[in-house]
Every structure is written in C-alpha cells, then in structure tokens.
C-alpha cells in the first residue's frame, strides 16, 4: 500500500497522475466495499473531476499542494458542498449542504481527492457503527467483527486500503477507538486546534475532527493541513497547528511518560493490558522515564460524559424538526409534524441520548446532573494538570478490548458505553490523544496504544507515537 506521502510526492513530480492513483483506489473499493460497507456514498464523479484538476495543475507547473492526488474518505457528518451529508440518519434525508466544512476545503486546497462519505453511528452516537440507519460497517480484518465507532467507516476505509487517509470526528473516542479496533493510527487533536465549522454538531464542547492513517507521519501531515485557526469557529485557537512532522524522529530519550493506573486495571482485557505494558517497556528502552501515575478523576469521566454530551446533543439535534430541510412526515398540525418527523427520523440510541440530555438540563435537575458534570470536568482537568507537572505524556490502552462481534453490546447500552472508558477523559479535558497500533491481542485482532498529552502538547504526543510505531517494524 502506497502512503499518502509517497503518493503526493510522485503526483507533484508528475511521476504518477492523480487520476491513476484514484483509479487504483476505486478498484480496491469496487473489490471490497460490498463486504466492508465503509461508505454511505462513493463520490466517483466528484473524485475524477478533482483528480483531473490536480493533474492539469501539475501539467501547468502549478503547486497542487501537500496532499496532491491523495484519496481521502470523509466521515458523513462533515459537510461537503453539493454532496449529501447524512450523519447516517434518516432525518437528514435529501439534504445537500451548500458549503464545505473548513477541514474539507483545506484538504481540497492541499490537493486531496475525496472518494466518498463514510458510514458512522447515527450522529456519531455509538462505538460500533451498528447505530447507522444504513447498516453497519464491518471490520476489514475480520468481517464478523465491528470496526468500532462512531467513525467506523473512516477507520475501515483506511484499514481496507480504500484511501490512505480519512477524517473522523471524536466526541468521546470516536476516532481513537475505531482506529484501535481497525489497526490504524487515529488522532484527536487539542480542542480548538481543528475547526468545527461544517462538522455536524453532536457535543459541541467535546467534538473534534481528526485523521485516520496507516502511519504516524501521514496522520501528522493531515493534522497540519486541516488544523490552525478558523475565524468561523469561535472556539478555534488563534494559532497554527504545531509543526509535528518535523519532530517525528526526535525520539523519547529523556521524556517522562506516565502509565495511567486507572486505565490498566478492572475492565481492561488482560491481553490488551499486556500489550500496553510492552509499549511502556519499549518507551523505557528508547530512553524515556516511564512510571505508573494515578489520575483519579478519570474514573468519573464516563458518568460526566454521559451527562454533558447528551445535554449538548439534545439541544444540537432539536433543529431537525421537518420545518426547513431533511425528512418531513406530514401531519395535520406543526406540532404533530415535528413529533412524527423526529419519531421516524431518529434511531433508538439518538432518542435515548436526547431524552437523557433533556432530563439532565431540566429545571430542578440541572445542578445535580449537568452542573455536577461540569465540576467533574474541572476535576479531570486538574488531575491531568497535576500529572503533567511530572510527565510529558501519558500512556493507556485506547479500548478495553479488541474488536467485538456484531450484536454483542447492542442489547445493553451501558456495556457499549464502557468501550469509551479510556478515551472520554481527553475530550472532557480538551486535551489531545491518539491511538497507534501496537500489535494484536490473543484473538489476532489489533490493539491500540493511546498516547495522551496536555493541551497543545501534540509535539510530545506524536514523538511518543512515532517511537511506538517504529519499534514494531
């Protein structure tokens, strides 16, 4: 499989055409997509037009950009001008965005070629991509297992070779967990470093866009392309994305790395824990000081998350009412029309979270639920801050287990929610974290190591990830 870096270099040098590269990937998609179902939509015509434009620019001696001719798969909750954006929900039926998300236009400006919109859990709510209105995505390493979620389509697209890179969104682990389960690299950058403009909101204070790739270096490049200030997002940090690519080979000698105690015990599968201990040893061998560290408040993360995220979601999703766009179920009155539309348009998990969030924000319950959850957020940040006084980066498993079977956790929402136990704290804190493949479990399925860093600590995070990646080669 050719990397995004190699593709871009060869297309810029006119050694290969973007069109050729695209055709190779479309051929892989044609071969395996029916099995994997990574996409809600393959945008062949769009992709051909974009590839031809890149090739023309190269022929004219222009600069087609850092990702010239690189196929990219886009999660279907990122707005794409003129291309349906569904969030894998029936409620957005027929809606076509009149604009590109900032990250989408930045990728296009860098010469990347969108090949399709990827499947996901409806409105990014889920950890297995089983909550899609259009059917689940299957794990390319074993089609009887889930790819993780909610960005399961984007993770599977990269793992299956449909595109060397893809974009996902991560509200509580939705990039990192499927990356781990599909054996690819997945990054959730610091909150505010990547624009959310054009990302269909789930939990606005937690959502962050990030890349999937086969390597740390490719993921780093994509972050640099899509990151940096966007005046259209008020929560965007007014500075460029840290230049991580230049420091990937800096190593970890002298770095202090903490293994999070609370994420290595109960609930973590022994084979996964064993791989993460191996990762810690590898980092120590590379010259880092590695110690266990307790970050006590992360144990409250799951409870706080399942108040904050649904609360914000209940409000964010209230706009889907059949009045202006998307699905409308006709009824005699406006009120009934809204009710029937939302009843027909949303799946069970989305409804569950809307109810949870509505309840959490209700008068008389706000302080006990949402208010307390905000305090827990502050506690988690404080405990991380304390840890980062002694450590440059932290290490944990990304997911408690390797990929599980379809239907395993759908009957019990709580067992599904527990999948995010290691990833959620970073979203609540707004910190960066990434998953890097680190071998396989006893079932032969990929295990992901999660590297965590303080806000804007991407440099340290990528250095650690690069060393882990390098140790496996």
């Amino acid at each position: 499989m050719t990397s995004a870096l190699e593709i871009a270099a060869s297309v810029r040098a006119a050694e290969r055409s973007a069109r050729e590269v695209l055709d190779e990937h479309l051929a892989v998609i044609a071969e395996r997509e029916a099995d994997v179902h990574a996409f809600n939509l393959v945008t062949t015509e769009h992709a051909i037009a974009a590839a031809v434009a890149v090739d023309e620019l190269v022929a004219q001696g222009g600069n087609p950009g850092l990702l010239a001719g690189v196929p990219v798969a886009i999660k279907d909750n990122l707005c794409t001008r003129g291309v349906a954006t569904t969030c894998s929900s029936k409620i957005l039926q027929g809606w076509v965005p009149p604009y590109d998300a900032t990250v989408v236009s930045r990728l296009a400006a860098a010469g990347a070629i969108m090949v399709g919109k990827t499947n996901m859990d409806e409105f990014a709510m889920g950890s297995s991509t089983e909550n899609s209105a259009f059917g689940p995505t299957r794990n390319p390493h074993n089609l009887s297992l889930v790819p993780g979620g909610s960005s399961g389509g984007s993770a599977a697209a990269v793992a299956a070779g449909f595109a060397p890179i893809s974009l996902g969104s991560d509200t509580g682990g939705s990039i990192r967990q499927p990356a781990a389960l599909c054996g690819v690299v997945g990054v959730k950058p610091t909150y505010g470093t990547v624009s959310r403009l054009g990302l269909v909101a789930f939990g606005s204070s937690l959502d962050q866009v990030g890349p999937f790739a086969n390597s740390v270096a490719e993921a780093a490049l994509v972050c640099e392309v899509i990151g940096g200030h966007d005046p259209g997002d008020s929560t965007s940090i007014p500075q460029a994305f840290p230049s991580v690519s230049d420091h990937l080979s800096d190593g970890v000698a002298g770095m202090r790395i903490g293994l999070i105690t609370e994420m290595m015990g109960e609930g973590i599968s022994p084979d996964v824990a064993q791989r993460i201990r191996a990762a810690a040893e590898c980092l120590a061998a590379a010259g880092a000081e590695v110690e266990e560290v307790s970050v006590p408040a992360v144990t409250y993360g799951l409870s706080a998350y399942y108040l904050v995220a649904p609360a914000e979601a209940s409000s964010n999703l209230s706009r889907y009412d059949g009045v202006r766009y998307g699905l409308r179920v006709e009824a005699p009155t406006t009120g009934e029309m809204m009710e029937l539309t939302r009843t027909a348009g949303f799946g069970d998990e989305v409804k569950r979270r809307i109810m949870l969030g509505t309840y959490a924000l209700s008068a008389g319950y706000y302080d006990a639920f949402y208010g307390t959850a905000l305090k827990v957020r502050t506690l988690i940040r404080r405990d991380f801050d304390t840890a980062y006084e002694r450590f440059d980066a932290l290490l944990s498993p990304t997911s408690p287990t390797t990929a599980f079977a379809f239907g395993d956790k759908t009957a019990d929402p709580m067992s599904m929610y527990l999948n995010d136990v290691c990833t959620i704290a970073s979203n609540l804190a707004g910190h960066p974290a990434m998953s890097v493949p680190y071998g396989v479990g006893t079932d032969g399925m990929p295990v992901g190591a999660q590297v965590l860093a303080p806000a804007l600590g991407e440099l340290a995070m990528f250095r650690v990830a690069a060393v882990l990646e390098g140790s496996l080669v």
Partner: protein, 477 residues
C-alpha cells in the same frame, strides 16, 4: 377610568427589546435590514443548517456597551446561553441569549421628572423569525398551514429589563420615551415601535398603598405604540383591582393587548413555568470586554438627552417641558447655536416649541434662524409673517430678510393700520355693534378683514389692541 389612586398603587416594570442598528446579524454576516422579500436576508446560520456556527458581531457588543454605559450599568464578563424551546420561527429550536451572566448589570435611568428607575440588566440575544398562520384562528394550533420568514431571525436584540419602579401609565410612557431617546442618541437603535425595532412587554400588578408585598403580576405583550402602553396599563390595573374587589385570585399570566377592543386577553398561564433548559452555549466563548475597550466607548459616548435638556434650560431659560419637547425634536443644538449667534432667547424657544415640528427643521441654518428671531422680536415682522418666513426657511433655506421682501412683508406704521381699522368699522356698522356687545360669533371678523386688507402684514395682536381701544366704554352703573 375609575381607579382610586388614593387607595391603589399600580406597579409597572417594563422589558424593552431594542433591535440593534448593526449592518449584519448577531452571529453571522446576513444583513440586518427591516422588511425585504421573505427569506432573502438569510444564510446557513440563519436557517440553522447542520454544521453552521455562530460568530459574535463585535459591533453589536459595542452598541450594547454604549447602552449599558448610558444607563449607568456595570459592564460585566458575560456568557451566552441556549434557551431551548420548539417553535418553527426559531431555526435551531433554541435561542442564543444571556441568562445568569448578562453583559450589562445593575443600572438606572432618570426620568425628566427627576424620578430614578432601576435597570436590572440589559443583555444581548438573537431575534426570532416571523410566523404567519393561515386558516383556523390565526394561531399555530388550528392553522391550515403556516409560513415562516427568517429575515428577522438572528437580528441582534438588547433586552433592557427595568425594575418595577413605575407607578402609572404616564410614567411608563415617559420611561419608554426617555429610553428610546437614549437608544437613538447613542446610535444603538432607530427606536421605531411601529417597525418593531423597539418592543415593550409590560408587567403590571396592583396593591393597596402601604402593602409590603407586590401583587401577582401579569405580563402584557403586543404593545405597539406609546398610546397603547398607557391604555393597556390602565385597563390591566382596573381589571386586577376589580378582581381583588370581587375576592378573585389573580393568576400570573401572559396577556395580549388587543388594540381594537382596548383590552388585554389571556394568552397563557405562567403558573407552570416554562422549562427552557438553559445551559452555556458551547459554540461561543465567554465575552469579556477589556477595560480599554469600555473606556474607549465611554469616551466616545455622545451627550445624552438628560444632559441636553439641562444645558438648554441653563442657556436659554426654557422650562423643563419646553426642553423635553425641543430635545425630543433634536432642535436643541440649533437653538443653542442660534443663541450663540445672538438670537432672541424667548423667541428662539417659542418657535422651536410651536413652529418647528417638521423634521426638516433640524437642517435650519442657525445664523438665519437667529436673524429671524430678531426680526420677530424687533417688530420688523408680525407674528403671522414670521411664521410664513420660518416655514419657508425650513423648506427652502435662504435669508429671512430676502424671504420677507419676496412676500412684500414690511412693518406697517401704526397710522396706516389705524386708518384701515377705522375704515372697516365705518363700512360695517352692524358688525361693529355686535362686536362691541361681545358677540363671540363676530370676534374674528374684524381681525380677519384687517389681515385681508393688509395682505397679512398686520400683526394680529396689534389689530386686536386697536379694536379694543375703539370699543365705547360701558356706562358705569
């Protein structure tokens, strides 16, 4: 009205929504213009399209700070919150407003009477679109279909919440007039009630004088003019007093002012408080205006209506009522400039009060206005002639002396006028007889004839004097 104000106290608190005079909406670049074809002043955010995000309009914040400073408010760190409720003219089904942390905190406004009215807060929020319900009773519940225009959705509003310090319909009107003058003076709003850029919700309760507790209040909506405000307050107070006298319990309600019927009608009960599920708007960051910014805004704040009135009274000898009117018309600067140029103070104020209601009067050349006041004061022109010249001066400009010449106006010498009067009396003996007997039907006859004979050049007051001189003294009893 039959309210016994010796027994009853009416307690009024107003919530005023002012549309801010920005070029674009509060959180996006769609234009903030009144009217327009439905759904033409819109963009992705206005429609609440998925993926759209709000970006705060800095000019709206500046206007809010201007108003806050003019109302003596504290300017605070503030947070935007979402107020969640489903309604088709609310594109996202939540309104971005300020809840527990408003930009402007406690302040006050002084009425021309000197009474001080407390301001609780003045916060920023976005406006909704407009719904039209077709069929049924014009309400959403039984309409055949509904139309929604989002042109107004997202327009910046400043909600100014006053303390319940007002005690009559007149006082409520005076408060709105003063608040509007301040909003217009600082350039925050055009203050047009008829276009809805100034909207007044009125909370009314009644209690007996001496009661410590406030009565149960009702909120009245749909007040579209100052006149309606006074009428609605009086109606509502009387309704509540009647209920108390009939031993009925007043329910906390939102009521609708029906202008045609002249009464308030129940819209909904407020006993079960709506649950808006407020929470901090995660798409926006805290708003913390720097002290430098606030100081800069304060330094550029224009002179406010109260200061204008005071200045005019001090420099011209106008009384408060005159000053209120002249400042309201925006003529105080003209008057002061004319006085600087030597205008007759009393005539200046009189003309500004009585003869300059045309908005074009603001464009008068102070030098020419001053000159005219002196021609008037010196008796060069009669009061009728002065009015004619002034009217032309307002419409066309020019020099009052030249205008007077063009009309052939000149001061009549008294001998000339005496002759005219004598001649008219001689020609109309019957009318003169009735005039002398004080018949009211004939009182204007001679002045009118003199005016006609002199082509309006005579001074009416002088003519009246000449006529009364000629009435034979009644024989003493």
């Amino acid at each position: 009205m039959s309210i016994d104000l010796d027994v009853w106290e009416i307690v009024i608190g107003l919530e005023v929504h002012a549309e801010l005079a920005t070029a674009t909406k509060l959180f996006c670049a769609a234009p903030n213009d009144f009217g327009g074809e439905p759904n033409t002043h819109i963009d992705a955010l206005t429609l609440g399209l998925p993926g759209s995000l709000p970006v705060l309009n800095e000019h709206a914040v500046e206007l809010a700070i201007r108003v806050g400073l003019a109302l003596n408010c504290t300017i605070n760190r503030s947070v935007f919150s979402r107020k969640n409720y489903f309604y088709p003219d609310q594109p996202t089904n939540y309104q971005i407003s300020q809840f527990d942390l408003p930009i402007n905190g406690e302040g006050w406004l002084e009425l021309p009477s000197g009474k001080v009215i407390g301001i609780e807060r003045a916060h920023l929020e976005e406006d909704t679109g407009k719904s039209t319900h077709i069929g049924g009773g014009g309400r959403i519940h039984d309409a055949t279909y509904s139309l929604v225009d989002y042109n107004r959705a997202g327009v910046p509003l400043l909600e100014i919440v006053g303390r319940p310090d007002l005690r009559s319909g007149d006082e409520a009107r005076a408060y709105v007039v003063e608040l509007r003058a301040i909003l217009v003076a600082v350039g925050a709003s055009d203050g047009k009630m008829e276009e809805g850029s100034l909207r007044v919700d009125c909370n009314v309760s009644v209690r007996r004088h001496g009661d410590a507790e406030l009565g149960t209040r009702c909120e009245i909506k749909n007040i579209n003019s100052l006149r309606s405000l006074g009428r609605a307050v009086d109606y509502e107070a009387e309704r509540q007093i009647d209920m108390i006298l009939a031993d009925e319990r007043i329910e906390q309600q939102t009521r609708h002012w029906n202008e045609d019927e002249g009464r308030t009608l129940k819209l909904r009960s407020k006993e079960q408080a709506d649950d808006y599920r407020y929470f901090p708007e995660p798409d926006l960051v805290d708003l913390l205006p720097s002290q430098e910014w606030i100081d800069r805004v304060r330094a550029r704040l224009p002179i406010l209506p109260a200061q204008r009135r005071l200045r005019l009274c001090e420099r011209s000898g106008a009384d408060l009522a005159q000053a209120v009117l002249i400042v309201e018309r925006g003529l105080d600067d003209l008057c002061l400039a004319a006085l600087e140029l030597g205008a007759d103070a009393s005539r200046t104020i009189t003309h500004a009060e009585h003869n300059l209601s045309d908005p074009k009067a603001q464009g008068l050349d102070p030098k020419m206005f001053a000159k005219l006041t002196n021609m008037d004061a010196d008796g060069i022109l009669s009061s009728t002639q002065t009015k004619t010249v002034l009217a032309e001066l307002v419409q066309l400009g020019g020099d009052p002396a030249a205008i007077a010449d063009s009309h052939g106006f000149k001061a009549m010498d008294s001998g000339e006028l005496d002759a005219v009067v004598d001649q008219l009396i001689a020609e109309n003996p019957e009318q003169w007889q009735r005039f002398c007997e004080g018949d009211p039907k004939i009182s204007g006859f001679f002045v009118g004839r003199v005016m006609k004979a002199t082509q309006g050049q005579a001074d009416g007051k002088v003519v009246a004097g000449l006529l009364s001189e000629r009435i034979p003294t009644a024989p003493k009893e």
